[in-house]
Symmetry: C2
Subunit: 238 residues, 2 copies
């Protein structure tokens, strides 16, 4: 079974939802048959690379909240994160473009290091004092810690189009699948879970997707299959 | 869209079918949204690692063919391969266990080198004079040519259990999906194509899977989703 998770590094519920999903996955009896793939989604796709501002300031400006409301929201999110055993810095976090991070996550996927990099990006954004949006070298350090080669990472960052189409394709696909927010979980392209649901909901979705797989619809050309099986290979008749 | 292809390196129709599928994929307008994953399937899972014999001898012994029948089958397969632009050595090819190759393909997948390694394994088995079943160093050379590190490859080969569960899980899944022979293509876990069908059949399956995706069935806990979207992040109410 494959679980695809659309998320943004700048999304607190994605950080929390990942932990809740992983809790369900740890207890899922067929966890070894589950492959997890992370997909790109930007909450703020129009933001310029050099446009970084404190989260609280962004919230008050973009959504018209008072500073007290914005801070209460962060406190609430921090409590939800803490309940999952996650560190969460409720003050002083920055907001900025995550496009380059998503490009790097696609590169990391090719190198088998996507999960490691995403965890480090979340941690850097939500739990560490130093801003995640502190220039390319900040990302290089995190990527190297995730097991990627510094020179290769710098090359990806320097070429603004590297993996950019992969990010955009993920975002198009999210829209096609009906995701308007994140995190958004898709199981075998059949079941969807929207948001950081409790672990029990993820457990239910995993069981349902695993147990109720409909049979495949076979597409063929009306002829027998040229295939090899336990009784040998078909010999071509055409 | 994701296409999973179950195949065996020892399967001539898998070698031919891969080329036919790729022809269809090249002409598919949404090819950039298609991800291909190769899955393990052994035609001869009980074969010991050191039990290598010429294909013609295996065919006469295992399936009771005459040598002339076995050779005619190879000639036919060679003609089908040639029609796809593939080299095919119709005489002198060996048959042996492919378990270690499948283990390596899973390692290569983690490293983003699965496709490269599979192509080199097919080529070595069906087109090159030197036997593919010529010991571990033969596999190390091919894996290095696919971009993997020699020491890491040797470590995988030396540990008979490394990635062995991944191979077995793929094989269990093939059975669950109803595949009794290979190649077996599965599109988004919804459509199946059995055998080395003509490129037109793959083109039809790709279009069908792409165009007719049913909407996701949403699994939730009956509550609103804790998610972030263009209008900000939900504030926890519970």
């Amino acid at each position: 079974m494959r679980v695809e998770i659309w998320s943004d590094i700048a999304c607190p519920w994605c950080y929390v939802g990942k932990a809740r999903f992983e809790k369900a996955l740890r207890d899922f009896p067929y966890r070894d048959e589950v492959e997890v793939v992370h997909r790109s989604f930007e909450l703020d796709p129009g933001r310029a690379k050099d446009d970084v501002q404190p989260v609280i300031a962004m919230l008050t400006k973009k959504y018209g909240m008072s500073a007290a409301q914005a801070e209460a929201g962060e406190d609430n999110l921090g409590a939800q994160a803490a309940a999952e055993g996650l560190d969460y810095r409720t003050r002083g976090r920055d907001h900025g473009s995550t496009f380059d991070m998503h490009r790097l996550l696609h590169f990391a996927k090719e190198q088998g290091r996507q999960e490691q990099l995403l965890d480090l990006l979340y941690r850097a954004n939500f739990a560490e004092e130093r801003s995640l949006f502190d220039g390319d070298e900040r990302l290089v350090e995190l990527a190297v810690a995730a097991g990627l080669e510094a020179a290769a990472v710098r090359a990806v960052l320097a070429d603004a189009e590297a993996y950019a189409d992969d990010v955009r394709a993920d975002e198009r696909e999210a829209a096609q699948l009906g995701a308007s927010g994140v995190p958004f979980f898709v199981l075998d392209r059949t079941y969807g879970v929207s948001g950081a649901q409790p672990a029990e909901v993820f457990a239910q979705a995993l069981s349902q997707a695993y147990g109720e797989r409909p049979p495949l619809e076979i597409v063929d050309g009306g002829e027998g299959a040229d295939a090899c099986g336990p009784d040998g290979c078909a010999v071509p008749q055409h």
